[in-house]
Symmetry: C2
Subunit: 196 residues, 2 copies
DNA sequence: GTCTATACTTCGATAGAC
DNA sequence: GTCTATCGAAGTATAGAC
């Protein structure tokens, strides 16, 4: 059984060139923004011919979607592994302040704004991530008996929002209050983790 | 006295065409993302010829910078006017949850990531806004005597981060916990504003 | 299965006409 | 002071050679 719409052939998923193109796309995206991710630049970054982008990924939208999917999946696995090893509030907070992850997220949200094909993909992942994150946070908060003071969903948004904005501002070189915020959260967590 | 580098002539700042181009650029930016802001599309949106973009703004970077500057200035004025009329915590919180403002910010932060010329402009404005916002927040918190429980700079980041992430997620259709977060913050503020 | 030759479109920018 | 004619570079994508 073949594809229903035979349009044009595509390269295999396990090809080395394909992986290099994905790596190149991700690098460009994070370092120079989504507008820098063009077929020509991606190919140059990967040391390949521009046309190969269209051989392995029919359209640029497909390349974007696949780049996102691959990183999103890796992030989710990394999160779950880290939490499985140590589900403390401290770990959850540390995972919220990863700068590279925040840049990646911002870039894709901006991208979703003008590439409707990517939008659904990103929204689906966002929901998924939020679900596992909320479960982990709720568990950690319940263990400390603080879920009554603040609903875990609210704590989740505060924590994620804080991490996101510090990463965003950090990329701009604006860091007013960042140290104070980190110190404040660290102290609050230490207090909670302390009186078990 | 003329310009030191006479490169090429530019249209006047008060031209109507110029204003229409800026309006068009801003509309495209917010509605379709920065990659949609091309000389041709901006001109079409404004009902003008593409070359006029380069007449009124030498380069696309100049157009972006001017679009940002104009909106940033307006935002700052709007903020200061609102706070002057009512500097309550409620007002400050409401101003942090403006969706259109957040989309604008996100788009420009992503843009700054790959247009170094814009970056400095954005960073400068970010600092400026944060300064007046912090002053207003510190005043409001001092008036309620809550600055001891949480440094205003920390409250500022939490508030801004929460507003930002809700706007970001809202644009994607992800709204888990948003209502709960708004209710939580509203209740907290009501409690504080209540016992004057 | 892998890649190249090539078509067609849109981009930013400048020089010069009105 | 305002706008048009036009260029060269870069963009996505396809058909077909190896």
């Amino acid at each position: 059984m073949t594809t229903s719409t035979p349009a044009r052939r595509l390269g295999t998923t396990d090809s080395q060139s394909r992986t290099r193109l994905l790596d190149a796309a991700e690098r460009l995206l994070v370092e120079e923004g989504y507008a820098a991710v063009t077929s020509r630049r991606v190919a140059a970054e990967a040391g390949l011919k521009p046309q190969l982008v269209h051989y392995y990924f029919r359209t640029m939208d497909d390349l974007f979607a696949e780049t996102f999917r691959r990183r999103a999946e890796a992030n989710l696995e990394r999160f779950e592994r880290a939490v499985a090893a140590d589900g403390s509030l401290h770990t959850l907070w540390r995972l919220s302040t990863d700068a590279r992850g925040a840049v990646f997220t911002t870039e894709f949200v901006a991208l979703a704004n003008h590439r409707k094909a990517i939008r659904a993909e990103i929204a689906r992942y966002a929901e998924r991530f939020r679900t596992v994150q909320l479960a982990a946070l709720a568990a950690a908060m319940d263990a400390r008996g603080v879920s009554e003071h603040m609903p875990p969903e609210v704590a989740q948004l505060l924590m994620t929002g804080l991490g996101q904005i510090m990463a965003l501002e950090g990329a701009l070189g604006v860091t007013t209050g960042h140290d104070a915020a980190v110190a404040y959260v660290d102290a609050a967590i230490a207090r909670l983790e302390g009186d078990g």
